[in-house]
């Protein structure tokens, strides 16, 4: 178990290293000039050039990369134009926001987490619940309705569903506030009220996958010998299904859920744009558009961390849920 964990962690670190290299190289090829974007009117070439030198954009690429990575682990001095010394973990100083990137993330990360995590609970619950029930009631009207409902969801576009939900619940019925983010610790009710539409929209779209998957898994497991044996031994229906069947069926669902949640954390751009909430996704898109390298790097690294960690967690969960899986 420990050996496996160490191996996975090392591989994860290797992945992160590769991601950082690719991101860094990639964005230096971007045909964007953050410095020119920064100055509004009246900028002259010499001044632009001087700013470029000060930001270190004239150093060899390799120096810029090592400088950036060094900042993450031990901190570094960014110079007077960028707010002076930046403590580890230093993600750099945003060219466009006049603040340290780590401050930006301290602000937008809770937003994205608040959107994705409750939404994931909702879509997992809804999806798996629908899937399992329709498997148990296979062939009935409920089964067909449930699958039809989830397929309809999967065939819709998030911005379409989101836009419609807002028009209905916010602008027409006025029973929900305009989507916004408040800290959970400050005002839990407002937190939920501001994000509930985003959760519902995401759940509607994502639950289809889980409904279908869990239905198929459940059907298969129900037919397996150990469930039949359990039933034959006289275990009640609910115990047999709940204990045995659910447990076996859930393994592949966990795999996908891990990936989806990890991916969603890095890819909430569309959700955030639709609902007008400033989180990780929109910060990333704006950074790419403006060529704000430090922010881009940090966004890519952070979303990659989510996915890598989610993968490792899933592998570990596998072992916990399904004793048949041997780690090695």
């Amino acid at each position: 178990m420990l050996r496996f964990l160490i191996k996975r962690l090392l591989l994860g670190a290797l992945t992160m290293f590769a991601v950082s290299l690719v991101a860094f190289g990639m964005f230096f090829m971007l045909p964007r000039d953050a410095v020119a974007t920064m100055c509004v009117k009246n900028c002259n070439p010499e001044r632009l050039e001087r700013v470029r030198v000060e930001l270190g954009l004239k150093d060899p690429l390799i120096d810029q990369y090592t400088g950036y990575m060094k900042g993450i682990f031990v901190g570094r001095d960014l110079g007077s134009a960028q707010g002076g010394y930046c403590d580890a973990p230093c993600l750099g100083y945003s060219y466009t926001s006049s603040e340290e990137v780590s401050d930006i993330f301290a602000r937008v990360l809770p937003v994205t987490l608040s959107i994705v995590l409750p939404a994931a609970v909702l879509w997992l619950g809804l999806g798996i619940g629908l899937g399992m029930l329709s498997a148990l009631k296979r062939g009935t009207v409920f089964d067909r309705l449930a699958i039809g409902f989830s397929l309809t969801g999967a065939s819709m576009q998030l911005y379409f569903v989101g836009g419609m939900l807002m028009i209905i619940f916010v602008y027409t019925l006025k029973i929900l506030p305009v989507p916004h983010y408040t800290s959970l610790w400050e005002d839990p009710l407002d937190w939920a009220g501001g994000l509930v539409l985003a959760w519902v929209a995401l759940a509607f779209l994502f639950s289809a996958v889980y409904a279908r998957l869990s239905r198929a898994q459940m059907l298969e497991t129900l037919a397996e010998d150990f469930v039949r044996t359990a039933r034959a031994k006289g275990l009640s229906k609910s115990r047999a299904y709940g204990r045995h069947a659910l447990r076996a069926a859930i393994t592949p669902i966990v795999t996908i859920a891990g990936l989806d949640i990890g991916g969603a954390l890095g890819g909430t751009v569309i959700t955030e744009t639709t609902f007008g909430i400033q989180g990780l996704g929109r910060t990333a898109v704006e950074a790419v558009r403006l060529g704000d390298l430090p922010t881009i790097m940090a966004t890519v690294l952070i979303s990659a961390v989510f996915i890598v960690v989610a993968n490792i967690v899933v592998d570990l969960l596998y072992a916990v849920i399904d004793p048949r899986v041997r780690l090695g």
Partner: protein, 576 residues
Amino acid sequence: MRSRAVLALGSVLALSVALGACSENTNTENGVDTDRQSSGVIATDPKDSMGPAAAVSGASKGGTFTVIRQTKISHMDPQRVYSFVGLNTAPLYARFLTTWKDDGKGHVVLVGDLAETPGVNVNKDCKVWEFKIKDGVKFEDGSAITSKEVAYGIARSFDPDLAGGPTYIQEWLADDAAFDKKWDFKANKSSLPPGLTTPDAKTLRFEFAKPHCDLPFAASLPATAPLPPAKDLGVDLDNKPFSSGPYKLVKNTVGVEMVFERNEHWDANTDPVRNAYPDKFVYQFGPNAEAQTNRLIADGDADKATLGWNGVDSSLVAKVAGDSALMGRTLREPTPSAWRLSINTQRVPDLSVRQALNYAIDRPGMVKAAGGDLKVAPLTTLMPPSTLGFKKYDAYPADIEKAKSTLAGKTPELVLVIGDDSGAQELGTQVKNNLEKAGFKITIKVIPADSKLDETKKKSNPWDLYLDSWAADWPSGAALLPVLFDGRTIKDEGNSNTSYVNNDAINAEFDRVLALDPAAQAPEWAKLDERIMKELAPAVPLYADVMFVMHGSKVGGVYIDSIFGYPAFTRAFVKQ
């Protein structure tokens, strides 16, 4: 399952039909005074510069005024403020040497803000200027504002780290476009830039090598806001400005929210323009124009004292315009933001081709493509109607046949560059289809919207046509025509003269008019405008933006400022 698909389809249809009532769409009047004339004077009577500001009828103190905007304000540090939203927000937390008294209908008077008068032209040659700082003006910590702090504010605008702000005063003092090389702020923090002196705590003196009659105008930009050296946080001041105005920034969650509360040390009796009625100003960032408009249409409890900075979204214009109750909560004024199709004369040297482009453009079609006549108003002149001395003319009345005959059988192949934002792409399509009817062959080149401005400002840019806009920093032809069409200022990068015209006769005319008394200049600029279009045709004037903003039912006192054409909050109040 088939029946369910039909059911789903049916419900989508029913929903959509229910959402938009099925009524006939027709042409209607919109009530925007697009041809309103402007007037402007510089106050000569010191009483005009004294406080308090005239009371607004129906206004009362108190309440929280909210502004929603899609993106954050790029800079809050007064020395770096240059965006429209920054320029109209800065008066809340900063005071300047001079400022505009503005009726919101194009009639403006330049008065002293921190200064007792809008400047004294000491030798009547526009080379030496003096400003006397008022008594009783204070910072948010209660310390007095003297000429020293104003001078320090101007000095720190020489710091290359503090990019973004206007550079007029720095360039005039240094008599050099590369002013930060001429005088290094970081190495001389305790001294002042050349030509700037503070003979005593009340007096600020500018001495220029060349005459600059526009100084009182330039001094109205936030870059003349004062700052005590001890409170200078360098680049970090951008998120924590030190207030000299009626409000101070007490909470700044960058990109999300800013909260301003009263600065108890601000004295209304010293301030000629700020009423400061609300107790609090809150800026919220994030929602786009569409979401803002939807919120304001709904007029929910939280949004009654709210204004949507980004204006009524073009997709919702018809809904708002069709409802007189909603129209009652909007402001509709033409703005000085003038759009033109710039022609790169380096690449299109043939005057007849440029004239044909002018004849070919279909302005009504452009207006429709740009979102309708509540978003833009057609323009045939280089200067927008809000410019002082504006005179309407049309040098090239739209006529496709005339365009064809002017081309005389030529089929010029031109490249039009546009940004990759969705609105621009439709305008590009519109221009292409329009010009191709007259026999042009247009290639559309899409480049990232954020870099388009910088790329077209490079002299060596490879394109023939681009959509450009210009909003002058003060409503004088001097802040528009020479800036855009004086060929002697052309450099490698960062040009405002994106048509790259350089005509000796016109350049000489610029010099002649600029040396005139500011009041005498106005009609001369209007004449020169027409002459440039007739002789050079460096661009096709298209339209001026119309500011069409909406607010909640408890908002009062807001006006569209006559200088920049954006909502201004100096008289704003919350109806009780």
